[in-house]
């Protein structure tokens, strides 16, 4: 049953694409303020799990509870829920028709009903935090990848979410830009925001997260504290995966 302290609690989640079973019997608990990293090899279902969490994919079975309420239930307000669970994508997905500032404002005014001024102040504050405030008048096409991702983070945080999901936010970036984005994320983690992130940055996962989930072939193969997973893995497949990644 759902854990009382959890902000998000996943029970026996299953996802099929046609007859392709991608997620099998996934259970996961995230407590408020916790930073959870999901690691695992390509195709293991990490993105699919994350996308199920904000219903960009419809789970085929199981339960997802948000603050004790089943988000898959009938009559659940999906849009309201999504406004509380932000998402940062691997491919940034900044709105091409809007400049940097408007990207961070549009959700606040249309979804949260904030006043223009309130939204603008919030957007500026978050853009400042990621160091993108000088670029407020730029269009996404005029920014580098790292800059785009920092704006995407500011956009998500401007919505004052309870939980923020990151799907490989640095994988599409050149190495020298990764640092800026990771720095922004680290600062966020320290504010006490609940974060669930999929990443291949093992050092980051070890330093920043409270809990690490290792996925393999659609199941949670092993989970625990970073110390446990990185220094003392139990499962053979975890060891093998880490060996491949850490020896690079």
């Amino acid at each position: 049953m759902a854990n009382q302290d959890s902000i998000i609690s996943v029970r026996n989640l299953e996802k099929k694409f046609g007859n392709h079973l991608v997620l099998k019997d996934i259970s996961l608990d995230v407590t408020p303020g916790e930073v959870v990293t999901i690691i695992g090899s390509s195709g293991s279902g990490k993105s699919t799990l994350l996308r199920c969490l904000n219903l960009l994919e419809d789970p085929t079975n199981g339960e997802i509870n948000f603050k004790g309420e089943n988000i898959l239930g009938n009559g659940f307000e999906i849009t309201k829920y999504r406004s509380k669970v932000g998402m940062v994508f691997q491919s940034f997905n900044l709105f091409n028709n809007l400049d940097v500032l408007e990207n961070c404002i549009v959700g606040q005014t249309t979804v949260l009903g904030r006043s223009r001024q309130e939204a603008e102040e919030m957007a500026m504050e978050q853009l400042k935090k990621v160091g993108m405030d000088p670029y407020i008048k730029a269009k996404p096409a005029q920014l580098s990848g790292g800059q785009k991702q920092r704006v995407a983070i500011a956009r998500a945080v401007s919505m004052s979410p309870d939980v923020l999901l990151f799907d490989e936010p640095t994988s599409a970036l050149d190495p020298e830009m990764v640092e800026d984005v990771l720095a922004s994320m680290k600062a966020l983690a320290h504010t006490g925001l609940t974060m669930i992130l999929v990443t291949h940055e093992m050092a980051f996962a070890r330093d920043v997260s409270d809990h690490v989930v290792f996925m393999d072939k659609g199941v949670v193969a092993e989970e625990g504290t970073p110390e446990k997973i990185f220094n003392n893995p139990k499962e053979a497949r975890t060891k093998e995966f880490l060996k491949r990644y850490l020896n690079q």
């Binding site: 028709n97 400049d99 959700g107 405030d133 670029y135």
Partner: protein, 532 residues
């Protein structure tokens, strides 16, 4: 005289009209018989039978819905008929040749007095009075050309000859041994242009037209044939009669009136008509002459073309937006909603197939004449034109906008969803602005197509630029120069529109450069702050 045998468009209309008749709708008549105005349909572009002029001199009659006047043999005859019927006014409905029959059967006019021959085919659709003029078949050639001195049909051996589409003139070419039968042409203006530019050597016509054209344009000459040396024709084909709706009770009365006008009076009327038809200015610069004489008309025609294309494109754009959105609504989870979406989407695709799959000229004719025939609805021509162009443009643009929507990067959609936007908000704030921006070049293109394609609206006699041009050419006989002027206006219009859309696109793209809101040093220190 003018006979129209195998025009596919007319066949099509007749078929539709017969269908409507079968459905029991055709008894609807738009105009009350009791009205004291006689509404007469004619091309007002076939001197000396009928032409358009700018004032009411020589007893001309007002053209319905325009500040222009019609005159000619037909108009004078119409006045006599009206007087005999006890009607106070005569109004001319300027109508394209193809539109005359549907105009009559749908009740938009009371009579056709347009130099029309009472052929058996036509008699199936409408009734005819006795002849009100009997003509003679001639040939029109270049006055300095090889055939200028021809006297009989045999002299035209090897000549390139044509005639008006759907008339017996054209069929008569077969009687000339060794003549090359060129494709038939739409109207006399076209044949006169071809003759002057020497792409043909002559066209078959009738004496009054021949007299008119040779007196107005010294480059052209009429060849008359002596008895037995010209065409052999059924006498009924050289006659012109007045067309009435089937069963019109006025038929007998009109015949009685015609009987009071003897042959010599008719000839006199025709001679007067030939002399009072407008003469073009021949001195000075042709371009300046056309503008001085017809500038107001040209501007009005241009304004009409721009008006219909602009409103049509704007309204069509919104229709396209709506239909494009309907066609891209994702299927909802609930069954009821799913059904509504499916039905709406099906209707939208029927609309698109229907209007993309048929020519606008047919849509205009069916809509304008059909509305009158079926529902007794006498639509304003301009309104009908606006509706047809809008709906047509909407069908094209909805597909363009739909593809604009579905080709927008999926990530844009997902990012908007992840912020908690619903379908409406996602579309309005994120997807549509991008889809619309991407479809702008196509909208501009559609606008330009509309500028040009409104010329087909002449079928319902909308006086847009092309119709105006044909009218002017019919008056001044300077076909090449008139159409050159029209070409110039079309080019100016389309070129201007292209430029305007470029500007709009640039504006929507925003400035190419953006200004940093602080200096670079602050930027670096800011990002450092975050890292620490």
């Amino acid at each position: 005289m003018k006979n129209l045998k195998a025009n596919p468009l007319l066949t099509f209309f007749s078929a539709i009209i017969m269908l409507l008749g079968l459905a029991g709708f055709s008894s609807n008549q738009v105009h009350a018989e009791e009205s004291d105005t006689l509404r007469v349909g004619m091309e007002a572009n076939y001197p000396p039978y009928n032409w358009t002029q700018q004032d009411d001199s020589n007893g001309a009659v007002k053209i319905d819905g325009e500040s222009l006047y019609a005159n000619g043999y037909d108009v004078q005859m119409a006045k006599k008929i009206a007087a005999g019927l006890g009607k106070k006014n005569v109004v001319v409905a300027k109508t394209q040749w193809d539109g005359l029959l549907p105009s009559l059967t749908s009740g938009k006019i009371d009579m056709i007095i347009a130099g029309m021959s009472p052929t058996p085919e036509r008699r199936q659709a409408i009734d005819f009075t006795n002849a009100y003029y009997t003509s003679n078949i001639v040939m029109v050639v270049n006055s300095t050309g090889k055939y200028a001195n021809a006297t009989n049909l045999a002299d035209f051996n090897g000549a390139k000859i044509t005639g008006q589409l759907g008339t017996f003139h054209y069929d008569a070419i077969e009687q000339i041994q060794g003549a090359i039968k060129e494709p038939a042409m739409k109207d006399f203006s076209a044949m006169r242009v071809s003759l002057e530019s020497k792409t043909i050597d002559g066209y078959v016509s009738e004496k009054p037209e021949g007299i008119s054209v040779s007196s107005a344009n010294p480059n052209l000459k009429m060849i008359e044939f002596k008895r037995g040396q010209g065409f052999h024709l059924d006498p009924s084909e050289t006659q012109s009669a007045i067309g009435l709706r089937k069963g019109d009770s006025n038929l007998e009365k009109v015949n009685e009136i015609l009987a009071t006008i003897p042959e010599d009076e008719r000839d006199k009327m025709m001679t007067t008509a030939v002399h009072s038809q407008p003469k073009p200015a021949t001195e000075g610069n042709w371009f300046i002459n056309i503008w001085q004489q017809y500038g107001a008309m040209l501007l009005r025609g241009t304004a009409m073309t721009v008006f219909i294309s602009l409103i049509g494109t704007i309204v069509g754009f919104f229709i396209g937006l709506l239909v494009g959105i309907i066609r891209t609504i994702p299927l909802a989870k609930s069954r009821g909603k799913r059904w509504t979406t499916r039905v709406a989407s099906f209707l939208a695709s029927v609309y698109i197939e229907l209007f993309r799959g048929t020519p606008m000229i047919v849509q205009a004719a069916v809509f304008y004449y059909g509305a009158a025939q079926m529902f007794g609805l006498n639509l304003d021509r301009t309104l009908a034109a606006l509706i047809v162009v809008s709906i047509n443009t909407g069908a094209y643009l909805s597909e363009i906008i739909r593809s604009g929507i579905i080709s927008t990067d999926e990530g844009q959609f997902e990012a908007a969803s992840a912020l908690g936007m619903n379908h409406f908000q996602r579309m309005r704030k994120i997807i549509l602005p991008q889809a619309v921006r991407n479809s702008l070049p196509s909208v501009a293109n559609e606008f330009i197509v509309n500028i040009k394609d409104t010329s087909v609206l002449s079928i319902i006699s909308v006086s847009e630029l092309f119709f105006t041009g044909s009218t002017i050419a019919g008056q001044n006989f300077q076909f090449f120069h008139t159409y050159l002027t029209i070409t110039f206006i079309y080019l100016v219009l389309t070129f201007t529109i292209t430029r305007i859309f470029r500007l709009i696109e640039k504006k929507l793209n925003g400035p190419k450069d953006y200004n940093l809101m602080a200096n670079q040093e602050q930027v670096t220190s800011n990002s450092r702050e975050v890292k620490n």
